[in-house]
Structures are given as structure tokens and as C-alpha cells.
Amino acid sequence: MNRLPTGGQIDRTTRLRFTFDGLPYYGHAGDTLASALLANGVRLMGRSFKYHRPRGVLSAGSEEPNALVQLRKGGRQEPNTRATVAELFDGLDAASQNAWPGLKLDALAINDRLSNFLTAGFYYKTFMWPAAFWEKLYEPIIRRAAGLGAITTDADPDGYDRGFLHCDLLIIGAGPAGLAAALTAGRAGACVILADEDFCMGGRLNVETHALGDQSGADWAAGVVAELASLPNVRLLARTTVLGAFDHGIYAAVERVADHLGQPEQGKPRQILWRIYSGRAVLCAGAIERPIAFANNDRPGIMLAGAMRAYVNRWAVTPAQTVAVFTNNDDGHRTARDLMAQGVDVAAIIDTRADAPACDGVQVMAGAQVVDSSGRLGLKSITVRQANGQEHRLSIGALGVSGGWNPNVALSSHQRGRPEWDDAIAAFVPGGALPQGMQVAGAALGQFSTQGALAAGAGAAIQALSDLGKTAQAPDLPMAEDGEVRITPFWHVGGTKARAWLDFQNDVTVKDVTLAHQEGFRSVEHLKRYTTLGMATDQGKTSNMGGLAVMAELTGQSIAQTGTTMFRPPYTPVALGALAGRSVGRDFRPTRLTPSHAWAVEQGAVFVEAGMWLRAQYFPRTGETGWRQSVDREVRATRGSVGVCDVTTLGKIDVQGRDAAAFLNRIYCNGFAKLAVGRVRYGLMLREDGIAMDDGTAARLADDHFVVTTTTANAVAVFRHMEFARQCLWPDMDVQLISTTEAWAQFAVAGPQSRALLQKIVDSEFDLSNDGFPFMACGEITVCSGCPARLFRISFSGELAYEIAVPTRYGDALMRRLMDAGREFDVTPYGTEALGVMRIEKGHAAGNELNGQTTALNLGMGRMVSDKKDSIGAVLSRREGLQEENGLRMVGFMPTSPQDRVIAGAHLLEKGAALRAANDLGYVTSACYSPTLDSYIAIGFLKAGDTRLGDVLRAASPLTGHDTEVTVVSPHFVDPDGGRLRA
């Protein structure tokens, strides 16, 4: 066991049981999965992506490329989770991935033997021929072999929230710089959000042994966090990763509310995706250590030196009993000292620098390099080449490697700012244009000493608040370590033919970069895509610099000239559930319910989605075995007596003002200026380009007051169009618009008995006779002894029909009253299917015909486009191309055999013509079975259709295989002279 007897910030009194690959282990509260596995002597945690090489933990943070595991089971199964940030909880079920049949013996480790073939660009070069093999053979095989974890196909049982936060100052990272910034701004009374991805704030203060004043770093951090927690103006977001910096000081962050629990509390989210609106931001994201590439540097047990130190100091875990350190800078020596202080045997410090300093208690091999390692499933030894060229082997269980530290610049570059090279620390620091309002402080800016980070954090907060017009004073910060960075850049050990890994996650080696260079992929962006360097879950946090450095060597350029790839959000992987929030399943989007919805549910209605509306599609009755039976019955009942349909969903726009009539006269292509009060007119509105936009009615309730109706689908679009016209085209018109779609419950009452039914509920002082309330009349009335209502004598069905509207709250009651009152007429509710059948029978255009490609002329309404006035779209509707005599015209179709089905979407061809585009004469837009005619019928667009009545054509659908002989007829199948409407 590798748990040290003392130390660490774990709760040794709390023992947590967990499993890894089915084997039980124990850890403590405060452990990560990685620290607990290391404590149990488990170094082998995964297999690499391509070569299936055994891999152990490399880091102690979110930059981890190797120790990717699968957590939980069932719907909560989550692949590719970094063991280094997975907080241990009792009952955690973890498994390795990308290995079969097991982690220790993985069949696809054969890839490692084939590595000479599986170099960079292998796929691109190999799977070129034959082309047909790619989709059916190559890709499935590659997909099976590649990839890491497996996604579950079970539904995620957990909820995810999205939320919005506002603050004066967002501080990203709660290490020394972040805590100092938060303390400064918090004490000044600013609204502060401090976010850190760790569950324990403090950053490197929690893993270093340097004192801050008379306290340990961890104790000082805990004290500051406690003070911040007591301030009402400071919000602490632990377990929260700021994922991206966006425009105008907006940041995205994911808070892992319940990832450290077996499952979230009832009703609580697993994670929250926050959108943070900040006045200013201070990026204190710290730095990430980088490895040095050498032959076989990927074995379990070889890890970053800073991580090794973190495991010892924070989690009281040593990865092995005997270790060594390979470094090019003084920070590696710190690791050796800390391990020795905890009683770990440090065999040697291998320092590439010839002038490496000495270190008490351990041999420092100055000018030496690690040239190889051994140990199939875990490190057993390393081979060291000393400065004099002699090589000898060291038997160790773990090796800490430090190639220096890279400031964590990712978020500073999300707005395309390019980092700049700093020779003093041999690393990139934030540069170029930072995201609006962002400052960077601490190690993220290359200020690597604790003292420097504290001062910089406080200074950044003061500056940020000053920018916001607030004043703040630096708190009394403790004295802390203030050492300088001493590093001699060293990227990889040369002179070997063995593979030396740069990108552990994607199995990219120094040889791969060399090959990319050799083949001309020298731009860093090309290098990334050709080799996959820096891709996938870790986005190259530990690998990019090494790759750039090798490429720089090969091209003879400096690293600064070589540059970095683009940094993009998200900073770390995000669960898709967090992005979706609560918009999943039935809650994917809101639902709109009609006023008669509850009543329709009681009737057993089948509903259909119409946009966000749920509309009754039909009302099945006992004994009816298919929807057609229900729909046919509803149509026959309506045409035979009376039917009622909820048409609340049609858009309603209240148009008022002195210029209301003139305004509508410009909106509609047909005339409205002279419409009398108390009358309704059908209107067609065109887009600017002359194409039909929408149709509907406008009812004139007063000289200065109209109610416009739109189709359900275009309610919003038409309102927006009219508002644009009102505000931007004709601001000098006195017109006011407001939607009243939801304010009125509206029902179509259609059929020869509709008047008789309405006379039972409309108050007696209102005359509904044909003379008193003729076709296309409208009026404000009362029903049921005084309930205000509006009545329109309009018809979509072609029958004597009305639409009656009452305030929405009375819609349910009115529907029930209509059904009661209509019992003597066998009143029948009908749904959208019967509505559709009847409008096709009547030849009314609807959404299928107003499809964004058709003109008034196509629709048979060319003469409606008035040439006596100007209106939107009128001029362009007269374009030559839209006026062709041979153009499409809306006509009807009847199959020569009535029971032969005609399909909407079928294309029209001459009889005997081959089914190909060249022979296309038009298309069927709407089709149904007409119970009135006892035949299938259809309407559609046919070239010169108005001249072809009586012709027999093919209506063929290559999609469905239907091929029906049809006769061209008038689209008005029922009551073509309109007698019923006016009865």
C-alpha cells in the first residue's frame, strides 16, 4: 500500500468503499479516484487510444490525458472521466475502458506491435481503396477498434439546470492569486464570483509545503475561503469549471452539483450550466506542468513531478516506495525534497542541466537524461545516460518528470488572442487581445512564485474594480515563497529510434511529428490535424507544447514563430445533458394548449403537434378501428349537420389606429381600404419578392380597428412582418399592433345547422339571419346571457359556417355549452384532419400550397393582386418569370379509379412518360380521402393547369412507389359556386 501514515488533507476517519474493474478498494473522504487507486497500489488505470499501451495517471488535475475511466452504470454511466478529478464517494463504481478482455491483458495491444504501420496519417494513406469499402468495412472496424469509453444507451435519469449569474468581478481559479483577488474585491463590497474546478479551493496552496506567514498554504487558503463564505457579496463556486470566455464579459461555467454523490438528491440537478455576466474577470487559472519526452515515457508510474508532489502532500499517497525525478528546472527538485520529507526513497534527480544545483539527501545527476524505461504494466526501471555518456539502470516504481510549467492561457485566448512567448520562463503567456474585461494574474500570467501570485491577484482585483468605478485596498497578505524560475528548456531526449510520447491520449510521438514535418504538415494547425496531437478530451494540455517545440526544432524556427493552435471552448469536456439543461424529452420545448384542451382530453382526442400547439387531430369513438373512420365520420357529420373545431391557434392581430385600413391595404395585395365596418375579407399577403407569404382574414370592427387572422404556422412571422412594416417602412402611419392570439378562444361552427346551433347560445338581441348577419359579416356580440364574444361568418370548410370567440377563460365552458346545445343536431367535434379534408374538398390553399415558392398566380388568385394600389410584393409579383402562361397553376386531381390513393408530394407526368425530372409537370401538394365524394382527391400545381382540365396524367411518387392515374379537375370539389356558404 502506498498511503503514507501521516499528512494529507484526507479524512482518515471516513472510509469509502469503491470498485475498480469489479475489485473492491477503500479510500477516504477527500480522495480522488486517482489518489485512492494509487493509495491501493493500482498504477495501471487505462489503455491508450491507438496502441492500447498500458497507462497510469500522469497528472493530478483536469489536464489528465491517461487515466480516463468509466464511472457508474446504467443511465448514469459516464465514459472518459478523468480519475484525477473524480471525487471519491462511497459506492463509486469505476471501470477501465478501451481494453478487451481486460486491462492487464488487452487483445488490441497487438496494435503496439504494429506501430511501424500505424503512424501518423495511417488512415489517410491506407484506407483509400476501394472507395466502397470505407463506409461498410473500414469505418466500422476502425470505430470498433478506436474510441475510448462506451456511451450508455439508457436515458440519463438525472436533471440538469441552466442558470444565469451576474457579478462585478468573476475570478476564475481559487489558487493564491484567485483567493487574493477575491479577498480584495470581497472586502471592498464588490459582487464577486469565485469559481474553481476543484472541490477544495486553494489550488497549489493545497499541495505545496511552503508556509504563508505562520500558516501552511492549505490553512491560509481555508481561512480565506471561510472569510469569503461569510461575505454576502461573494459567491463561491467550487466544483465549477469555467468553460469558455465569450463576448461582452460573458462566461460559461459548469457546476458539478452532485457528481461527488452516488446520485443527486431528489429534485436537484446533477450539474448546472451557468452563464455568468461579469463586469470584469480575473483569470487565475494557474499553470500546467509539461513532461519531457523520452523513449517509453508512457509507462504507468511515470508522471508529472508536480502531480507526484501533490499526491504526497495533499492525499498522502506515494505512487511507489522508490522514485526518481527527471527535470530541467528547480521545481523538480522541490518534488524530490517533499517526497523525502514524507519518507519516500528518492533514488536520484536526473537533471538535464549541466549546472543543476545540488539537493540535500539525494544524488543529483547533472547533465543526465532518462533514455528509456522498462516495465510492461508499470514502471520497473529507467535507463539514465549521464553527462559523460555512460548509461546505467535505476530500479524505481515511479518517475516524476518536470519539463517546466505552462501558464494556463486557454481562457485568455478564447476571443482569438494569441499567446506570446516568454523566454524567462520558456513558456507562452497570455497575449494579444484578451476577452473584454479580462485580466490575468498569478501563474496563468507566468508569475510562478506564491508571493508574486498573491500580489498579482490583489493588484488585478484593485485594477478591475477601479475600471468599474469602485475602490479597493490590498489586504495584508502573508509572506510567502518568492523563488525565481530557473529552467533550461529541454523538450525531448534525442538519439533514439524508440518511440517517445508527446501526446499520451492520442498516442502521438516525436516520430509522428517528425513524419508530419517530413510530409509537409508544418503549420501547427496542420500538425494537429495530421497527427491528432492535442485533440480529444484533454485538448493537448500536457502535449501541445512538446509537439510545437519538436516542430520548431525541425523547421529551424523559434517556438514563438511556430505559434500555438487555436484555443476554443469548452476548456474541459462537458456532458451533453448540461448543455441541454431541462430542455429534454417532453420538456424539450414549451407546449401550447388550446382553451378546449382539457375537454378534448376527456373526449379521448388524439393530438397532433402544430408548432408548439397541441391540437385535437380527431376524436375516435368506440368501434372505430382507424383514424380514417373517425375523420370520415367527422366530415360527414359536419357537412350533414354541424361540427365544432377549436381554431384558437390561428394567429390574431389587433390592428388599430387612424391609418389601420391604409396600413392593411399595403400589407395585403388585395384591397382593404374600403372594407365596411362589420365585414370580413379574405386577404393574401405577399413577401417583398412577390411570393405568397400568408393568407387569412381581416375583420373590420370599427373605422380604426381591425382584427387580422393568420395561419397557425405563420402567426409569429406575420406579426413580425407587420411590425417591421409599421416601425421601419411606414413610421408615419398611425397604426398600433398587438397579438391577441391567446386572448380569445375561437371555435369554428360549421355545417348547415350551424346557425341553428348558434342561435341557441347567442343572445337574442343579435340577429343571425342571413340578412341580419350575412356571409363575411362580423360583429361584437354577447353569448349565454352576457358573455362578451366576437362572431365572424367565415368558412374554411365551404359550409355555412361561423367562427365565434370568447375571452379565453370561458373557452372551455363555451365548448361544453356548444356540445350541450348542439345535441339535438348531433353536433360533432372535429379535429385538424377533418378540417384538412374539408378545405381540400373546398379547394382552399393552406400551408402545403403557401410553401414559400408559390405566387398568387400559381394559387389561382392572380387577379387578387390589385394594380390600383401599391402593396408589399405587388411589383415583384409581376416579374416576367412569375407571369409565364405555362407556369404552375393550382388545380384539383381525381384518380381515375376513386379508391386509388393519391400521395401528397407525388410528381405529375404525362401518361407514359418516364419518371424523371425532365418530364416533371408539377406536383401534388395536398391529398386526402373525400368521404363526401367517396374518392381520393388532391390539389396541387400543374404547368398551365388551368388549361388542362379533363386531361389524364400520372401522379407518381418515387419515394413511396405510388403511381396513380389522375384526371385534372377544378380544385373546388364541393360546392364550387359557394351556395352553401351564403345559405
Binding site: L165, C191, K268, A598, D659, A743, R809
Partner: protein, 189 residues
């Protein structure tokens, strides 16, 4: 008096009330709403006349006011929503008609009573609730603030007054909006 029984936007005869943690969410169906939009060139006159009707200044941008009998919130340039008690006993004397009688040709007035569902939200921790619903900065939602925002894809108005918040959302989506409020409250508390 007619005999049609009204339903609340949530589909019941009585308003729904939910208490979750420190917050109580109450459907309020007893308010009449009417939009008032100044006619062209009547902005100043309409604003003044509306103030007279309200008994207090017409609300400015992003504000709401409460007069002795009627309240109002700003909706758009020279356009307000006025609210008052919904008189179930005498819906003929509706708010819109009364306002039109007062404002005459200075304004276009449209009844909006049925267009919206209203939820009154009271209790401690409204910030914790609303930060999971919309992008309004609750710290700046002082009494008398009225803002338009999106809640779960629904265009809504949020008014801060009398120590609580009022949410107006589209009536047809009342159940979806209620679900959003309840779910967020359970999540927050």
C-alpha cells in the same frame, strides 16, 4: 350575468398555489389586463392621460407602477400594459373599455386579460429561484422594475413589486411555465 364558468390558465376553477422551500408560487387569475399604445403624435398627451387614469406617473422604460386602483408596466415605446381587478360579475365593464373611454383617440387599447397567465412569487430567496429561470439580475430588480425576458423559451415579463415578483407568460403555455417555475424552485431549495 352569463353562466359560463371560467377556468384559470392552468385549467382549474381555482388558482393553484405551490409552496416550495421558502417560496410560494401562486397563479393569479383575478387580474384584467389591457394594452395601451399611444397613437401617432399623441405620446405626451397619452402619457399624461394615462397618469391621470392610474393616479400615478405612467411607468418609464423597464418600470412598473401601482396606483390606487390600477397598475401598469412598460411594454414598448409609448406602450404599456395596465392591470386592474378582473370583475367576474360584470365582465361587460371590462378594463379595456374603461380605458378606451378615458383615453379616447389618444391611444389604441386592446384587452389582454386572456392572453397572459400570471404567477405571483413571494418568499425569501427569489434570487436563487430566478437565477435558474432567466437572465435577469435580481440584485438590480428593485421594487418597481419590470423586465421582459425568456423563461424556458417563453417570452415573459417579470415585475418586481411589493416584495415579490410577478411573472406574466403566454396563457396557452401556462402549464409549461408553471412546470419551469416549480422545477426550478425544487432545484434551488
Amino acid at each position: 350575468m352569463h353562466d359560463l364558468a371560467p377556468l384559470t390558465a392552468l385549467g382549474s376553477s381555482a388558482p393553484q398555489r405551490d409552496t416550495i422551500g421558502p417560496v410560494t408560487i401562486t397563479e393569479n387569475p383575478d387580474r384584467a389586463l389591457a394594452s395601451v399604445a399611444a397613437r401617432l403624435g399623441q405620446d405626451a398627451a397619452c402619457t399624461k392621460a394615462l397618469a391621470s387614469v392610474l393616479g400615478t406617473s405612467a411607468p418609464d422604460v423597464a418600470q412598473c407602477v401601482q396606483g390606487p386602483a390600477l397598475g401598469a408596466f412598460w411594454m414598448a415605446q409609448h406602450c404599456w400594459i395596465v392591470d386592474g381587478p378582473y370583475d367576474l360579475d360584470d365582465p361587460q365593464t371590462d378594463l379595456a373599455a374603461r380605458l378606451k373611454a378615458e383615453l379616447g383617440d389618444m391611444a389604441s387599447v386592446t384587452d389582454q386579460s386572456g392572453a397572459w397567465v400570471r404567477f405571483d412569487v413571494h418568499g425569501d430567496g427569489l434570487g436563487a429561484l430566478f437565477e435558474r429561470l432567466c437572465n435577469l439580475d435580481m440584485a438590480r430588480m428593485t421594487d418597481g422594475t419590470a423586465r421582459r425576458t425568456m423563461i424556458d423559451h417563453l417570452g415573459c415579463f417579470v415585475l418586481s413589486h411589493r416584495g415579490g415578483n410577478t411573472v406574466y407568460g403566454p396563457r396557452s403555455s401556462a402549464q409549461s411555465l408553471h412546470h419551469a417555475l416549480i422545477t426550478a424552485a425544487r432545484s434551488a431549495f
